[in-house]
Amino acid sequence: MRIFLFLVLSEMFETFHQFCFKKSALFENDFNINSFYDILIFFKLVFSSPFFWIGLLSLILMFIIWSTILSKIDLSIAVPIASFSYILVALVSIFFLHETINLLRWMGIFLILTGVIFVSVSSRVKESTLT
């Protein structure tokens, strides 16, 4: 039961850090990189945003929680549950970033989700045939 709580937390941090990174890279004007100098300006802008640092902190927290999860349960169980973050990121994009997702993109997201579940479950099938 506690592991389930960890999984939910890990997904929330995953989604939250993506949201923060997106926020830190949103500028008023469209940014174009034409020279090496522009690259430095770009990162100066990103690093000066508090969102970037909150996102980084959230990424580190997620890494710690994810490592704890993996020490307790198998990757083939953890990944399918964690792939729920594809939906979570989509929902956050709609409600907080005002992005639009059309039917075709939803279908694509669900295909990716199914694919990720297939790929991760396949390692469990292999292990069970070994024992």
Binding site: I33, L97, V121
Partner: protein, 127 residues
């Protein structure tokens, strides 16, 4: 497809390759260490000390940072849900690398999953 979109798409392919290298180097770095069975906090610290002295771990970190920086640039250009969905491409590269570089046996069900991911990526790109 617009020229700008093609550029972003190739950047996502590039960072997915970076992620794949990151995982391959991390895996080979961890494999080089002894089996890790943490009993107490001292063993955990010893493991971390061993980890940071492994060159593969540093190469892995380098790819990680490179991928993070380019990821931030991608996010400044396209929608989050678009970029996040396409980032699943590394599953495909890892399956290919496992089969052809590491000579691991990739099972049929995993190829089916990989194919579904490719189809999903195609739909997201077309949308």
């Amino acid at each position: 497809m617009k020229e700008g979109q093609l550029f972003i798409l190739s950047l996502i392919v590039f960072i997915s390759l970076c992620d794949t290298f990151r995982e391959l180097f991390l895996k080979s770095g961890v494999n080089a260490l002894n089996q890790f069975n943490p009993g107490n906090i001292k063993e955990v610290i010893l493991f971390i000390l061993k980890l940071i002295r492994t060159p593969q771990v540093w190469i892995s970190l380098l790819f990680g940072f490179l991928s993070l920086f380019i990821w931030l640039f991608i996010l400044s250009k396209v929608d989050l849900n678009f970029a996040f969905s396409l980032d699943s491409m590394h599953y495909v590269f890892i399956a290919l690398a496992s089969q052809f570089i590491l000579k691991e046996k990739v099972r049929l069900i995993r190829w089916v999953g990989t194919l579904l991911i490719v189809l999903g990526i195609t739909l997201v790109t077309l949308s």
